[in-house]
């Protein structure tokens, strides 16, 4: 038990040190990543102005709710006011900070291809545990630096969060959805990387996954905007937990029994992908043959 903990701690520490080498470049890069939101603000501002001013436009509905950006105060699209929409984009960035796993699948597939995976077969370290610990370390390092630019942007944009902080119970559910988003993202992407045991090159598959994630996780727009058959189909997929779900929880678009059910379904997806990745790994290792030193 103690040995395992010490092993994990070592992996964690190495990962942290590895990531904190280029701090400045990293913080600047994170800040720049918010730039596309600027164009999103103006795009949605124009769209909300349009549906506000054109009578009979499809999505106009009455009701209060002040717009932080001024102008289109009362108009809503799929239940989102302009402020909600901008807040959603900001929150989806937080979701993705937890659930995106840059280089996990491609790195895993590369290790299989170039034979680096051999060391996990001969050493008493489990590959999946190692990768998880390593990823936790990477994420911790990322947050320790990225929290500054994130805090700065959220402070400047606080006007868009018109309803203020949600209740503590909602915040707890939000934290849970973010943590589970991390786990789901990890095991989902690991499963794709492990396909490398069967196909040596997974980059095109990965691109497809990235494309689908961008569109169907809610990173590009709130999923509530999708027209009906699509909305239902997207609800059946696990991808929405990677960006849409945590943001919707924070904005209280998902509440009550729906929220509880959503969290349970997310947990079930995680369990599914843990088992799936484990089975794939065991089968893959049996298939694998390594030669030379």
């Amino acid at each position: 038990m103690y040995e395992t903990a010490r092993c994990w701690w070592t992996i964690l520490r190495i990962g942290l040190e590895e990531r904190l080498v280029y701090r400045g470049d990293f913080a600047l890069g994170t800040l720049m990543r918010f730039l596309p939101i600027v164009t999103q603000v103006f795009l949605w501002w124009a769209i909300f102005d349009t549906i506000q001013q054109v009578p009979g436009a499809r999505s106009v509905s009455g009701g209060g709710g002040g717009g932080g950006a001024g102008g289109a105060g009362g108009a809503t699209i799929a239940g989102y006011t302009l402020s909600n929409m901008i807040a959603y984009y900001l929150l989806s960035m937080v979701s993705r900070a937890f659930s995106s796993m840059p280089g996990l699948a491609s790195g895993g597939a590369l290790q299989i291809r170039n034979g680096e995976i051999k060391k996990f077969l001969v050493q008493p370290v489990d590959l999946m545990s190692f990768m998880l610990a390593n990823r936790v370390a990477h994420k911790l390092a990322y947050y320790s630096v990225a929290i500054l630019p994130f805090a700065l942007v959220f402070f400047f944009c606080r006007g868009y969060f018109v309803d203020g902080w949600p209740a503590p119970s909602v915040l707890a559910a939000y934290a849970a959805s973010l943590l589970m988003g991390f786990l789901l993202g990890f095991f989902l992407e690991l499963s794709i990387g492990l396909i490398g045991f069967w196909f040596l090159e997974v980059s095109s598959l990965l691109f497809l996954y990235m494309l689908l994630t961008f569109f169907l996780s809610g990173h590009m727009f709130p999923l509530d905007m999708l027209p009906q058959p699509w909305r239902y189909l997207v609800d059946l997929l696990p991808l929405k937990y990677l960006a849409y779900f945590p943001a919707a929880v924070f904005l209280e678009k998902v509440t009550g029994p729906d929220l509880v059910r959503g969290l349970w379904i997310e947990a079930a997806w995680i369990a599914f992908f843990v088992v799936f990745a484990r089975i794939m790994y065991d089968r893959g290792v049996r298939r694998y043959s390594g030669f030379g030193g």
Binding site: L43, A69, L211
Partner: protein, 284 residues
């Protein structure tokens, strides 16, 4: 005269070599074309969803669904032209600087900027020109056949569109080569690529959306200092004419775009030559 013919010959050789190289790996070529196209299709999906909720982008801006299709098509055509002809070269250029292989380019009896700008072409990126053209035809078809206030197109409009499309490509090329040239001073330019992506991101939307509140300084900066807002807006506006009747591109804007294209090219040349003067080879 002989000199320009000579350059044309070199250019054609570059094009041929790149095509042969691309077609050597046929599956990879098709796969790249496929992924580029699916990315475009997804973007169109996003705007279809937006137009499911709103009749136009901006009140009385004239950018309705099919006008905006023309806008989007222009964006894809310009971007894929850049990705085909200049993006691989700008990337290669910074590698040449880092590895010191720029020495060989400098020694060749041809203009260095010409050589590093055109050497490699990525033909698979042209697939998005096709997607863009299809979208353009769909948009124009709907605009010219709509019952009230149909769009009237003439050959002159198409010629102007093509001309300003090329002006747009020139502006973005100048920006790209200037950014790439700065890697002579900076050593590496990974962040510069992100920078490029974030700057051009501003050009992908109608310029009216920035003309309000704290968007005005942004609009001014990206129109007059780094003129990326003109790149898509001017040609798309000439073709789709979002505020009919009467053209919505004023003569002043059109002339300014011309001046901006020429100035960008001159500035990029200046930056390139300046940067080359500071080049110190990296090899031993």
């Amino acid at each position: 005269m002989r000199r320009s013919a000579h350059y044309l010959q070199v250019l054609l050789t570059f094009a041929r070599n790149s095509l042969i190289r691309d077609l050597t790996f046929r599956t990879n070529f098709l796969l790249q074309a496929f992924t580029a196209t699916s990315w475009t299709l997804m973007n169109i999906g996003f705007y279809l969803i937006i137009f499911h909720h709103t009749p136009s982008i901006g009140p009385e801006s004239g950018w309705g669904k099919y006008e905006f299709f023309v806008f989007l098509a222009t964006t894809w055509i310009v971007n894929s032209l850049l990705q085909t002809f200049f993006m691989p070269n700008a990337h290669e250029f910074s590698e040449l600087i880092r590895t010191g292989n720029l020495d060989f380019a400098l020694l060749k009896p041809i203009d260095t900027q010409f050589l590093v700008s055109f050497q490699r072409m990525e033909w698979s990126s042209l697939s998005n020109v096709v997607t863009g053209l299809i979208l353009l035809v769909v948009g124009l078809w709907h605009l010219t056949t709509q019952p009230d206030n149909p769009l009237v197109l003439t050959v002159g409009v198409f010629l102007l569109y093509t001309f300003y499309l090329l002006c747009g490509v020139t502006i973005l090329y100048s920006l790209m080569i200037s950014l790439a040239a700065t890697s002579i001073w900076l050593g590496r330019n990974q962040t510069l690529y992100d920078f490029w992506f974030y700057i051009t991101n501003f050009s992908r939307y109608p310029m009216e959306i920035y003309q309000r509140g704290w968007g005005r300084p942004l609009w001014g900066f990206f129109t007059f200092v780094v003129p990326v807002l003109l790149v898509i807006n001017v040609p798309a506006r000439i073709l789709a004419q979002p505020l009919r009747p009467g053209s919505s591109v004023s003569l002043a804007l059109a002339l300014f775009t011309l001046v901006a294209a020429v100035c960008s090219l001159l500035v990029s040349r200046f930056v390139f030559v300046k940067a080359l003067a500071s080049y110190r080879s990296a090899s031993s």
